[in-house]
Point group: C2
Chain length 215, copies 2
DNA sequence: GTCTATACCTCGATAGAC
DNA sequence: GTCTATCGAGGTATAGAC
């Protein structure tokens, strides 16, 4: 239990510092100072700096992925086993976008940490993302159930593009704001989700999205 | 001239090593050993490791941006001052995708370096990318000339999405391949450009792209 | 099993000789 | 311009206290 306290203190301090200052600027000595523990405690509990970062990222990723699957299941149950393509894309990009965009003031350390992870793409996190494939295959499978006549390759491309748009929007919020001189509204998260989903749908079907597929 | 030789040797060796092994695994001592120069030479000629990386990236970026603008101008001249939206998007994403995708064996160090830069997004390179805004505004301006009745915000969103799709395709080639079990063809670069452009167009106009706007 | 003090090694940077 | 020597910072490893 004393062990738990130290471990938790490290996790909390590390997530906060990385969220605030990014991965490049935070050293292990910074973290242990903030957590008020000994330098060697990080290696004892996590093995290495990279494994600490990996654990932080995995914890938050699991939460996001769970929320994605929850939305997917809910849509499938509401549709008697078939979600609409629109709902599937929304389940994929909605949780991430809702977590990372919106009013900056009230953002949690967890949300800001995930934004950093997206922007800075440090080696331990890259390795984990490469294993995200199985999770994505579930959304591909859902789309194939809904659109059995579609070319499977087009389905994968559409998923790939949906993720691309969502992640780049999180990553390059600032560039989009500056390029558009503030014209692109990045506070209305639902509007952004709708936009990404609608483009992903068009990528898939070659047609503009109908406003509402099901009430 | 002796100075030039040293400087060039460092640049060549650094680009090759970064291309081969990524930024995280290559130290300055690796670079100077490969270039057969003294350790202090890097700091003398470039100031710091980060400035060396920045110079490598800027050099290659300028080449890409020049090619983008060349394509844009060519299309505008062919269209008497107005390029089609299709041509504008193609000018934006074509040079990058042609440089970074396609047959892996014949990829130059320069191309592989740019792929690494895209994937690993190391601090000095992030800083430079943030100044890319002026370049993008030229493409926004071209689109506004071609589509004067469109909502400007939609134009910026479409440009943002086009870049997102292109960069993610370069960055996550492997994930897309694995997710689709090899079904998505990443060797046919022109087909990928067409796909990205067509989705960007739909994002902009809300309609599927016509096959050829102008012969 | 948990934690601490401390030493080690690699890396980027720099001062000063040539 | 180039080189040697060395410094400080950062991540890691270990020996031993509790």
């Amino acid at each position: 239990m004393a062990a738990d306290r130290t471990r938790t203190a490290i996790i909390t301090a590390a997530e906060r510092l990385y969220a605030e200052r990014g991965f490049a600027d935070v050293t292990m000595r910074d973290i242990v100072a903030a957590a008020d523990v000994n330098l060697a405690a990080v290696n004892y509990h996590f093995g290495s700096k990279d494994e600490l970062i990996a654990e932080l990222f995995v914890t938050r990723s699991i939460a996001t992925n769970r929320e994605r699957l929850r939305e997917l299941k809910a849509a499938e149950e509401a549709g008697n086993g078939r979600a609409t393509a629109q709902e599937i894309f929304a389940a994929l990009v909605g949780p991430t976008l809702r977590g990372c965009l919106g009013e900056a003031k009230q953002r949690s350390d967890a949300a800001r940490f995930m934004i950093r992870a997206s922007i800075e793409s440090v080696p331990p996190i890259r390795k984990i993302k490469n294993r995200e494939v199985d999770h994505l295959k579930r959304f591909a499978a859902a789309l194939r159930r809904t659109l059995p006549d579609h070319d499977p390759a087009d389905i994968f491309w559409a998923l790939h593009f949906a993720l691309a748009m969502a992640h780049q929007t999180i990553r390059d919020t600032e560039r989009l704001t500056r390029m558009s001189d503030g014209l692109c509204d990045l506070d209305n998260v639902q509007a952004i989700i709708d936009r990404v989903v609608s483009v992903a749908l068009m990528a898939l079907t070659g047609k503009p999205a109908r406003a509402k597929a099901r009430a």
